[in-house]
């Protein structure tokens, strides 16, 4: 009676041909209000090697916690909330955006400020989903997702201040599979 969702297939190694036109690493134009932040990181495989043919996409609310999507109250003017970056020859990606606001969660709860992340790559027959949270801890205690993740794995969802110490600059690495490098595997979500 109902239809079944089409099967997923890998994005493959030649994703650039179809997706480069929409690369969006500067996510917030000059008129968008909010605290400017930068997020960068690397994607690693189970050998600890950088994944040089991944595509990372971001989806986030504006500084007031509003999404720009269809049927939503609307975000700050000109802020689409979408980012897309292919990883480079060292597996690296980088975005400039604004700090998202808290958004409603299940029941009466609020979700801590977060950015939804989608990862595509050769070798991923389905995309992976994770989230970026922020190290100030604001709202973490009441966040339904963070509470659902085993405490010892939660740190993989929290961006860290860049070692450079530049304010508003965060590092968020994505580890597809735990390997000999010892980097803990990123928590991925079944949404």
């Amino acid at each position: 009676m109902s239809l079944q969702m089409s099967s997923s297939q890998t994005i493959g190694p030649y994703l650039h041909i179809g997706t480069d036109w929409l690369i969006t690493t500067e996510m917030a134009g000059p008129d968008v209000q909010g605290e400017r932040i930068r997020i960068e990181g690397r994607v690693y495989d189970g050998n600890g090697a950088p994944v040089t043919d991944a595509l990372v996409e971001l989806w986030q609310a504006d500084a007031q916690g509003n999404y720009a999507g269809a049927g939503q109250p609307g975000a700050a003017s000109g802020f689409r909330g979408f980012g897309r970056a292919p990883t480079d020859a060292t597996g690296h990606f980088r975005f400039s955006t604004i700090m998202p606001g808290a958004v409603p969660g299940p029941g009466d709860s609020m979700q801590a400020p977060h950015i939804a992340v989608t990862v595509f790559a050769r070798g991923l027959l389905k995309h992976l989903v994770t989230r970026i949270y922020f190290p100030d801890g604001a709202g973490h205690a009441g966040d339904a997702l963070l509470n659902a993740v085993p405490a010892e794995r939660r740190a993989t969802l929290i961006a860290q201040p860049l070692p450079s110490g530049q304010a508003g600059s965060y590092q968020f690495d994505i580890v597809l599979q735990e390997g000999p490098s010892g980097r803990p595997e990123t928590v991925f979500l079944d949404v």
Binding site: L3, S7, L15, I17, G81, G123, E178, L189, V191
Partner: protein, 234 residues
């Protein structure tokens, strides 16, 4: 109040697992730990909106992106994007990319000894209309070898990337062609456990969109996740 009507999870065995050793690249890229199940929130049921400021008329014609016409068999690829409830997925972005007629991508990582076509890049995009309909004019891609295993060949295919209307509907897939003898040997195709689901990625030849004395028509409908009618109980 903030509980969201949930997008249904895919029907059993219609989706590949992350780890599928016959496709070698999955072995070191598949997560080793189970995914954490997340009830969808506003974050997942909303999604980016694209429009005609992003996609221009003509972006769905891959045969007129250069000075001359590409070599190969012209084809019209069209269909509808629907959700599992059969409702059209309107005004949503569809991106495609593919090899040229000789099975070659103009990409630094493609070393296949087949000619580059200076008149074919192989990337296009369009927005679905209010009926969920989309259409591309392109050329039929060629099969090409890859190094997954001895004498490995990818069947002819077109990559599709769809945004739907929500983060939870995002889908990247591939469209195949009817009667392709390579399909049973392709580990990407066979990674889908359910045979009927697998076969739904094969387009069908379509007289209705075949353009007399110009191009053959292939039809490929894509189904994105559908949403339950009522919000999930807490």
């Amino acid at each position: 109040m903030a509980n969201q009507a949930q997008y249904r999870r895919p029907f059993h065995s219609t989706q590949p697992d992350y780890l599928y050793p016959p496709y070698g690249s999955t072995v070191k890229r598949a997560p080793s730990k189970p995914l954490i199940i997340l009830p969808q929130t506003l974050t997942e049921v909303s999604g980016p909106v694209f429009g005609h400021e992003d996609v221009k008329a003509g972006d769905n014609d891959l045969t007129h992106q250069h000075a001359g016409e590409p070599i190969g068999e012209r084809i019209v690829v069209s269909g509808r994007v629907l959700d599992e409830n059969g409702r059209p997925v309107k005004h949503s972005l569809v991106e495609i990319w593919q090899a040229n007629a000789a099975g070659r991508y103009p990409h630094k990582n493609d070393n296949h000894d087949a000619p580059i076509d200076p008149n074919f890049t192989g990337g296009g995009r369009t927005m679905t209309d209010e009926h969920g309909h989309y259409q591309f004019l392109t050329i039929k891609p060629g099969a090409y070898p890859w190094r997954n295993h001895f004498n490995a060949w990818r069947p002819a295919h077109i990559h599709f990337s769809l945004f739907g209307n929500a983060f939870a509907q995002r889908l990247v897939t591939q469209m195949y062609f009817p009667g392709d003898p390579l399909l049973p040997y392709d580990p990407m195709f066979t990674s889908i456990p359910d045979e009927r689901a697998r076969n739904r990625l094969i387009s069908t030849f379509d007289w209705e969109t075949t353009n007399p004395e110009y191009a053959l028509g292939y039809r490929f409908d894509i189904i994105l996740r559908g949403r339950d009618a009522t919000p999930m109980e807490k």
